[in-house]
Symmetry: C2
Subunit: 203 residues, 2 copies
C-alpha cells in the first residue's frame, strides 16, 4: 500500500504513470469522484466518474475506504480493488490527499500498513507555473489553487518519506527505491522464518 | 549509519566492496582486531590489526563503540571515524555481527539511528560450499564455522531489512535502494521545514 500525496502541480501524476509502467506488481487505486470529467480524462482510468446519488449510496454501503470533500466535490477510494490486492499480495498505489491518507491509516482493511510519500515542488515559482499552464484558468482560480496547495503542503510532516521533485526521472527512481526497500523490510517477507530454519545444519 | 550483518559465507564482503565503489557519500568503518592478518588482507583497509594490549587500552579509554569476542579473538569499532562521519553528514557502513549491532544501537554516539540489514545465503549448500572453499580448512573447522553461522542467523529477526543473496548484483542494488529510501525519510532531511515554508504564498 503505497500512498503518494502532493499539492496539485508537484508532478505526482507524471510520477505515478511512470511507476505503473515499470512495475507489473503495482496497480493503481482508481478513485471515484463526483466532479465532471476533464478533456483527455478516461472514465475508469483517471477516475470512476459517478453522480452524487451513487456516491452517497457507496458511502452508506461502506464501499469506500476513505472519502474527502474538496472544492465542493466528493472523492473516494473503492474498497473492492484494495481487498483484492491484499489477497493477491500485489502492491497498490494511491494518489490521494492528506485527509484520505489519514483515513486509510486508520482503516481496518489496510491494518495501517501504509508506505506514505509526500512529493514537493522544487520551488514556489515552478508550482505556480504548473498550476497556471495546466488549468488555463483566471488569476483568481490560480490563487485559490495556490492556497489549496499551501494547505496540502502543511501536512507533509505526517508522511514517512519526502521527495522534492526537481527531476521527474530521479523522483521516479526514488519512489522505486522506497518500494524496493519497503518490500525488503523483515516483517513484510512471508515465509522468512521457515527459510532461515532451512539454512541451519540438521534442519 | 548502515549496518550489514550476516554469517560468514553469505557474501557480505563482496556486497560491501561494490557498495563503497559506487557511492562517494559512503565510507567504511574499519574495525580493529587481535586476530592475525590473512593472506591478501591489508592493514588499515580490511582491519586495523592490533595486539591484545592495545585492544585492552582502547577498551579502557572507551575508544571503541562496540566490541565482541569471537573464536577467542577480539573485534571492535573505533569511535573517531564514526564521530567524524556524523559531524560531516556522510554515511558509514559497518560490517559487524549481531552483538556489535546491539551495542551500536544502544550507544549514545549513534543515538540509535541505525539502518540494519541482515544478509542471508540462498541455501545451506551454498553457505557450506563458500565456507569450505574460502578457508580451505579441515571438516572439523568447517563444521564449527557452520555452527557459528547458524548462531549468527538466529539473530536475523533483530534487523530491519533482510536480503537473500542469490545474486550479488541484485543484492547490491537492494542495499542501494535501502540507502536511497532511508535518506528520503522525512526526519533525516535537514532544513525541510524551512524549505516547505518557502513554498507557501507570501512566504
Amino acid at each position: 500500500m503505497l500512498v503518494l500525496s502532493s499539492p496539485s502541480g508537484a508532478g505526482k501524476t507524471t510520477i505515478s504513470r511512470a511507476l505503473l509502467q515499470g512495475d507489473k506488481n503495482l496497480t493503481m487505486s482508481v478513485s471515484v469522484t463526483t466532479r465532471p470529467m476533464r478533456p483527455g480524462e478516461v472514465d475508469g482510468k483517471d477516475y470512476h466518474f459517478i453522480d452524487e446519488a451513487v456516491f452517497q449510496a457507496m458511502v452508506e454501503r461502506r464501499e469506500l475506504l476513505e472519502h474527502a470533500h474538496v472544492f465542493n466535490r466528493h472523492y473516494g477510494t473503492p474498497r473492492g480493488p484494495v481487498e483484492q490486492a491484499l489477497a493477491l499480495g500485489t502492491d497498490m498505489l494511491f494518489d490521494i490527499d492528506w485527509q484520505g491518507t489519514q483515513q486509510l491509516k486508520q482503516n481496518e482493511v489496510t491494518g495501517g500498513d501504509l508506505v506514505s510519500v509526500f512529493i514537493l515542488p522544487p520551488s514556489i515559482d515552478v508550482l505556480e507555473d504548473r498550476l497556471r499552464r495546466r488549468a488555463q484558468d483566471p488569476d483568481e482560480v490560480v490563487r485559490s489553487r495556490m492556497a489549496k496547495a499551501a494547505d496540502e503542503m502543511s501536512h507533509y510532516s505526517e508522511y514517512s518519506y519526502v521527495i522534492v521533485n526537481d527531476d521527474v526521472e530521479r523522483s521516479v527512481a526514488e519512489v522505486r527505491a522506497i518500494l524496493t526497500a519497503e518490500r525488503l523490510r523483515r516483517p513484510r517477507q512471508i515465509g522468512l522464518h521457515e527459510f532461515v530454519e532451512s539454512l541451519k545444519p540438521n534442519a
